[in-house]
Amino acid sequence: MKPANILIEDRLGAVLMALLLLITLANVIVRYFTDQSFAWTEEISSVLMLVLCMAGSACAIARDTHIRVEYFFSAGSPERQQRLVVVSALCNALFFGVLGVLSAQMCWDEFRYEETSPAIGLPKWWYSVWLPVFCGVLCARALQRLQRAKAGA
């Protein structure tokens, strides 16, 4: 891929992937040498995986690589294909916009009631706050895709 086509989410995803790899490997090595396991990394890894999912998905929205039924999507007249791209982008933008608002509400509740995480005891909203943030990113990427479709790409 050309460097110009690499998104900021691409770099974030690659870094998160590497980070998850290093944490998991460190777990194996530490357990091998010390007979201890640092299980608290599991909680961190799970949240990093959530962010990885959102970052990877943002790239997939921008490039239309999400798994879909291609049967109608990639066949038929260019006008129909264009329309279906618009439908997809609209659905993506709408859904992640709504999910963003709802997850912001969930996060706000966790903040208000001072809920803490089960393993480490950190405030739960430190983790869940990334959900509305990245829903915003996904929504923005979908709108960007919509704009490109309108411009005829």
Partner: protein
């Protein structure tokens, strides 16, 4: 009524080409809202809660890790050396190269966990080699697409990890052990028609005249690849590491082999590899997260119960219901990818499984075999798409060849359906 809306909305959006995860999410969220019109914010807070909870499960981390393993071994140069070694062992002759392709794909299946990555790795080496030996490109693409489908049966397997996360009572090690025999069986079920087709149509006539690599040097060259499944599966079996850790160790091993031993991966390729793995993982994880909303709607709106009761009332019995399910999933499998099929159908059929007392591990292997067949059954066949793209042929051109392979693997599926011990003997004797 709400149930109908859930399915209609989902199916319409899906057919329009909306990403499957988003179609599941919209269908699920709309049904939840409609059923809770009198509740504050329409009960929709369950949407982010289910999404968050389903994606922050630690065992799921094995999934992105095995995706990364696939991306790395794809470029590690291991496939080429395994092919040379397999030719050295099997010799040259009409019909031998397709066998080599199938065996190498099965062997790589013991390292990576996803069909398309396997098809890319084997296709990259075998398509040109098979063309030189006189095999038509559509035939090569069919064989490689089918062979790569054994990958999700032979442990480790991304599909089995997804199934395990969804199905309590089916652990990853038990599923991995259960997939081995059916995976080998599926491979054999491809080898026989591949040889028969080559003989009958006189394919690969040039092969006998090509040189045979020397046995010992090609073994030494291939030793890094040959050891990888031993490290991954053996390490898991001996309790050295969990499936997630086995994947991380395999990544480290693959990077070492690719960057230091075979020198096929350069430092600047790392961004590409990790970026690609992150995007593929994001796509799969997003479907898992959004399917949990759909599953939540199915469960809380009591949509599944009436369907289950209706099926039980038809009096088809256990085997009859299973055969209907196989037929249904084969059709669905032509249009949907494996992970989506699991996520949509496992919540739907789990009550049936309990009603008929099907073993969850055996049932998971059956589902995976159906998905495997779907991966190379046209028109929507992920593995076949990869191998066709590499061979430069269209999926339509593979029709005369690929059906024989589909029938072969279906027979293997029926064997596992009729004799459950084919799947269950190994995990039971290993004590999972």
């Amino acid at each position: 009524m709400t149930g109908a809306l859930l399915f209609v909305l989902f199916v319409v959006l899906m057919l329009a080409g909306v990403p499957i995860g988003v179609a599941l999410g919209i269908g699920g969220a709309a049904a939840i809202a409609l059923a809770n019109l009198d509740v504050p914010s329409f009960g929709l807070l369950a949407v982010p809660q289910n999404f968050y909870a389903s994606l922050t499960k630690y065992p799921l981390l094995a999934l992105p890790m095995f995706v990364l393993v696939g991306s790395i071994f794809d470029r590690s140069g291991i496939a080429q050396r395994l092919v040379n070694f397999a030719i050295a062992v099997l010799g040259r002759g009409p019909g031998m190269l397709p066998v080599v392709a199938i065996l190498v794909a099965m062997f790589l299946g013991g390292i990576s966990g996803s069909g398309p990555a396997n098809a890319a790795a084997v296709g990259g080496v075998m398509i040109a080699a098979m063309a030189r030996a006189g095999y038509p490109a559509p035939f090569s693409a069919s064989v490689i697409g089918g062979a790569a489908a054994t990958d999700i049966l032979i442990p480790p397997s991304i599909a089995l990890i997804v199934y395990s996360v969804m199905m309590p009572g089916a652990s990853v090690p038990a599923l991995f052990a259960a997939g081995l025999v059916p995976g080998v069986l599926a491979g054999l079920a491809l080898i026989i028609p591949a040889i028969w087709l080559s003989r009958r149509h006189g394919l690969g006539q040039l092969e006998s005249s090509l040189p045979r690599p020397p046995l010992w040097p090609s073994f030494v060259e291939a030793i890094w690849g040959l050891s990888a499944p031993v490290l991954i599966l053996g390490g898991m079996r001996l309790g050295w590491f969990t499936p997630t850790e086995a994947a991380a160790v395999a990544v480290a091993y693959g990077l070492f082999v690719g960057m230091v031993v075979h020198r096929t991966i350069r430092v600047r390729d790392l961004l590409t590899i990790f970026r690609e793995a992150a995007e593929i993982s994001g796509v799969i994880l997003m479907i898992i997260g959004l399917a949990s909303i759909f599953a939540y709607a199915l469960n809380t709106l009591s949509i599944i119960d009436p369907i289950t009761q209706a099926i039980l009332a038809t009096g088809l019995g256990s085997t009859g219901t299973l055969l209907c399910l196989v037929a249904l999933l084969l059709i669905v499998g032509m249009f949907l990818d494996g992970v989506s099929i699991f996520l949509i159908f496992v919540p739907l059929v789990a009550p049936l499984m309990r009603a008929f007392n099907w073993d969850p591990v055996w049932f998971g292997i059956l589902l995976t075999m159906m998905v495997a067949v779907g991966q190379f059954t046209p028109p929507m066949a992920v593995n076949l798409m990869v191998s066709c793209k590499m061979a430069g042929v269209s999926i339509e051109q593979t029709f005369p060849w690929v059906w024989w392979l589909v029938v072969g693997m279906l027979l293997a599926l029926l064997a596992v359906l009729v004799f459950p011990p084919l799947a269950l003997w190994l995990p039971q004797s290993l004590g999972y």
